[in-house]
Structures are given as C-alpha cells and as structure tokens.
Amino acid sequence: MSTATARKASKAKTPSQKLSTKDGKAASAPLTMTGAEMVVKALQDQGVEHIFGYPGGAVLPIYDALFQMGGVEHILVRHEQGAVHAAEGYARSSGKVGVVLVTSGPGATNAVTGLTDALLDSIPLVCFTGQVPTHLIGSDAFQECDTVGITRHCTKHNYLVKRIEDLPRIIHEAFYVAAHGRPGPVVIDIPKDVQFKAGTYIGPKDIEHRTYKPRMDGDSTRIEAAVELMSKAKKPVFYTGGGVINAGPEASAALRELVRATGFPITSTLMGLGAFPASDPQWLGMLGMHGTYEANLAMHDCDLMINIGARFDDRITGRIDAFSPGSKKIHVDIDPSSINKIVKADVGIVGDAGRVLAEMLRIWRAKKLKARPEVKDWWGEVKAWRKRNSLAFRNSDTIIKPQYAVQRLHELTRNRDTYITTEVGQHQMWAAQYLHFEKPNRWMTSGGLGTMGYGLPAAIGVQMAHPKALVIDVAGEASILMNMQEMSTAAQYRLPVKVFILNNEYMGMVRQWQELLHGGRYSNSYSAALPDFVKLAEAYHAKGIRCSDPGELDAKIQEMIDYPGPVIFDCVVAKEENCLPMIPSGKPHNEMILPDFAGDIGNVIDAKGRGLV
C-alpha cells in the first residue's frame, strides 16, 4: 500500500503556524512541548484530519491538547471497538492511515477485536492507548493492563513509550510501519506521566524505521519468468485479493490493463472486490466458499494461477490437497511470509502489487506477447460454467428473498457515489455476490477475522472520509446489535449512514451450518426477543423503515436513499434461506452445492468436514 499512503502522507498539508504550538512559537526553532502536545502535533504533521476515540483517565492530557490545539477532528464513538472499526472503514475507503485514541485498561482491551480485525485484513492503523504513570506500571493500578503484552499478537508492531525523548520518533515511526509493506495496526502505549513531561519535538521528515524496509519492487527475473508462464498458459486465471486494493488505485488501474491485455479471466477474493470492474466480461465473480461456480471451477481446472495480493485463505482454497491440482502458481505478495505459507508457489514474487503488475504489463507489451489460441477454448469452458447461473434463486412475490433485497439495493444505488460496509454472516456473502463493484475502496468488510459488529462503525468511518457519499451498512439483525450503540455517534456527527438489515431473526450463517452439520438442531441461533428496529432508529434520532412486502421494496429503498439523515431499514426477509452456492467444508472447488441442489443438504458434509470451521 505503502505507495499510495506514503504519497498521501507526504503531500498532506503542513500544519498552520497557529495550530502548531499553543503559544504560536515559530516552527523552525526546536519545539519544546509536553508529550500530549507532541501527539497532537505529530498527528497534524502526519496530515491526520480525523481520529476516532473515547476518553478516560489515562489519556486526559491528550484530550486536553486536542481541545487546546485543534487541527484534528475527534469523533467520539460509543465503544472502543467501534473506534477501531470506524478507523478501519476510514482507512480502507480513503487509503489513509486510520487513527484511534483510547484510554488504558478497558479502553485498550475493548480495542483488541478491532486491532485483530485490522491485522488480519491488513488495514493501516495507529492506535494510541493511555497507560498508568510509569511508576505505577506493574502494580495492578486502577485501569492498568499490560497493553503491549495483550496487543503484541494482534498488531503489526507496538510500543510502550517510557521516555519523552522517544515519543516523537516512535509516533512517526508508527505511521511508517503501519502504512509500509503489508499494512497493519500499530499501538503506541503512552503512560500518563510521559504525556505531561516536556521534551523536544521532532518532525516526521526523514524518520523511517532503522530495520523495517519492506521490498517494493519485485525481482525482475521472476517477473520475467511469470510473464513467460502467462504467455504459454492455455487455461490461465487471475486470482486477486486485498493486496491490490491496499496497493492503491494505481494498482487497480494496472490490473485492469494487464487483464485486458492478456484477455485472461479474473476472479477475486472477498477482500479484493472492486479492483476489477464487475461489469467487465472477463470478470468471473468472487471465488471461494460462497463464490460463483465459474470462478471456482476456473480455479480448479486452470493450468496457470496468477495470484496477485491474495493469501490462499482457507475460505478460498477449500480442501487444500485437492486445490487446483493441475496448475502452476504465480504468487505476488508484499509479505514474504505469505509465499509458500499455504500453497507452494512455482514463481513467488515479493513486492508491491501495483509495481509488479505495472512491470508485468510493461514486459507483456514490450515483448508483444499474446495469449495462446487455446485460451479461447478455455473461455468456452468458462462460459459454459457461467451458464449454470450459480447465483440464481427462487424469488417470491409474497415474501422478500434476501438475495432479491440485495439485488434491488444494487440496482437503486449503482449510479450513485456509493460505499458499502457489511457485518458478518449470510448477508455479507449475499452482499458480496449481488452488489457489483466497479471501483476499489468501495467495499469494506471484515474478511479475515469475521467480526460481527464491524459494519456500522466502519460505515461511520467511511462517511467521515466521504461526507457526500451514500454509505450503506448491509447488516444482519444479529450482527447489528453487536455495535448498535454507534447509531448514537452517527446522530451526534449528523452522519447519514444507512443500515440495511436483512432481518431473518436467525443468526443466519450459524443456522445454515446447523442445518448442514447438526441435523437442523438450531441451538441458540434464533433471537427470540429482537428490538423493534423502527422504534430503535427513532430512539437514536434516525429514521426507521420496515418493509416485508416485495412489492413495496423499491419504493422503500428509495425512501431510505433520499432521506438526508441516518436510517435503519428493517428488511423482513425469508427466514430459512441458505446462502448458496457453497463449497462445503472439506470439499474441493469442483464439489459445490448449487442453488438447484435437490438432495438432502444435511448429508453433504462428511465426518471429516464436520471438524473444520
């Protein structure tokens, strides 16, 4: 990512003099200020415009500096987990680093889920946590926890700042580490006495990490070898992931050019949607557990797989020993540990997706290469699979099918400046299947960690970054309740986010797995006492809309879109709809359950598959 973010960071406006220090001293002389002031000054110097946070005892000096110095807008969330997800949505939709500020103890532990989410989905964040004063560390003081110990495993890197002399360097280094290489969350734990202590501030210029210097350009001989394989392939497929999105819009542009120049089919992971336009005839749709038939069979039968910025996640590969048995694999990833981690690569290239794609394109053109004629026959196979129409579903005119609801949502929002976030579960997969993305950074979802409760705070972050855009959280009625309190944040900041709930009263994906694996014994997956979402919306100063009639759906979705404030849309859908197609656990790509499956769905998965997640 790195390229995009770094560029943006360097271009960011320099802080105006009146904001740079409290007393208006010239910025040229060495600046003496407190640790708390350094935090705010460093944010200004990093070009940070918005931070998401929640105050508490151990960060009060920083909140005071924010109050006095200004220049950075603080968005007060209602729960620290919400702050981190909001910063994730902000970062993923804008290409900037998301910034979080929380207090010690419970502030930090509440942030852990969000940090882990950002780690698994490679989202650049800097999270400031307050800490008890240094002399109290280790004494089990009030609201003390071992924040760096707890977050060591869920951050890319973390710091405990014990000396004021280290603070400015650490902050700038943290931004560098978060945004460069494979992006990720970085925690800076600052004891309260360090926040009060005065020291000399150092600006961000020339600060980069002593040892952390990720490789950006791919090895040229390997890129040549990859392009050579591409020119010889008879059944090639591009398999792209979140790495392309993270590498910035240039990477998506390079991907489009390369895919069109080669004429190869392309599929993408959940995290990679939008890098390649869904309206393009070369697009096969998403792959993986709930991917399309054509995408998964293309992956299974290909002779060359070109993986750009994806990591062979288990939701993608299915049964690993039957994964794409006949193919050579090119794997481009900025994280060297991704290559050969799950699937052995024939050509592994460590580098930024954008730069490697541009280099591949340059070589392809310079050598005037063309796809082999057999690729045409390959397309014949792919088109036959596509005719299977794996996203078909039986619609109804009496009850709203969730797939239909998402389809209509897509139709009514496609010509707008729309950003989508989701919670986690069936609705998330339906959104991925039926919303078709044309541009990168428009789709924010919790992929790796699968965090229910991600979507609403993420939508708030997206709306902060894009105040004029239409931001919709496609939600389930169970997920939304996990961070429902953030409606209050939306109200406070007049953020017109729309929450589109596919309400089937079940934890739909849990119910589906219980049907598949546990004889339809729906243990604790039915929410028997749901709130009245329309009244709940009103309680949060938002508009509530309920719809249960397919005939009224379009008009009500339009009403939601047209309303200038936040909306909770309670879309009452079919209760026991399964999310298909599906690669059952423990099965390879070519053994999918398709929507017209006629057998007993409870007997598809064998004992071995039952043990998998």
């Binding site: 495993h153 405990l160 580490v177 002779d303 020993d321 193919s327 060297p336 050969n340």
Partner: protein, 177 residues
Amino acid sequence: MKSHYQDPAAAQSIERRTYAIIVDNEPGVLARIAGMFSGRGYNIESLTVTETEHDKHISRLTIITKGTAAVLDQIKAQLERLVPVHRVMDLSTSGPSIERELALIKVRGKGEHRMEALRLATAFGAKPVDATLESFVFEITGASEDVERFISLMTAIGLVEVSRTGVAAISRGAEGL
C-alpha cells in the same frame, strides 16, 4: 501435473535448524519472538540471547527449532517479518558452523564415586569449579551431544543438578553475519 500436496504431511521428514537472529534490543523483543513461536505452534528446542553490540543496542539470539522444510522456511519468514528483527541467518544450511553450549553440573558422591567423577570430567575436558568433600560442580563447554553424554555418565555417579546455557552458534570461516 501433480498437486503440490499429494504427499501427506506426515511423510515429510523433520529437520533441525539453528537460526542466528539479529534484533534491536528493545523492550519486549524476546516476548515478540517467543510469542511468534507459541502463537503459530512452532517449537523452540533451545534459545539463547544477549546484547552483543552495546552501543547500538543490538542483541543476537540463537534459536534451535525442528520442523518440516516448509515449516522451517515459514519460521524464517515469520521471524524476518517482525519489525525489530534485522536479519535471520540459517546456520544449518548456509555452510559449516560451530555450536557450543556451557553447562554447570553438580555431582554428589564419596570415595571411589567422587574420584570416578573427577576422572571422567578430565576425559571430557570439564573442569571442577567448586568442590567439597562430597561434591563437585563441573563446568563443561562443548557441542550439545558431548554435554548430554557427560550428564548421562554423571547421572550414574550421583547427579544432583544441571544448569545449561543453551546453544550459541557461529559460522566457520572469515565471513561475518
């Protein structure tokens, strides 16, 4: 063309590797490395660590681990991915290297047992660093196998306690890391 995964994992042989890891000696760096091993399910057979360049605050760790070739490559990649890690050197595969460890071994016995302990220690090049009328503490430096053999002999005589440093390793020849 065959899948990369036709052979079951069990059929792959387990190898032993020694890594030298150069890191910034910052707080928590050892926890970061040890945590990576435990979090990802890898084993540490031996670990030694000390600051080796005081002015630059750089430490050197020597870690011995076991795994299949794929796991060992992944361990190296995961180590290199940690932000404070400067570099990781695989001493087992990058050429000849020397591995040594030091052990302090307390043995208790009287008369002939005591004399036999001393004779064996001389044969192993272990030196007594403490002695009483009924005990010795020997210091032995050598390859882990030699230390093991010495300890097993001492067990027969009257081993009381062992303290081992774990392995320190370095490559042979003129070239540095």
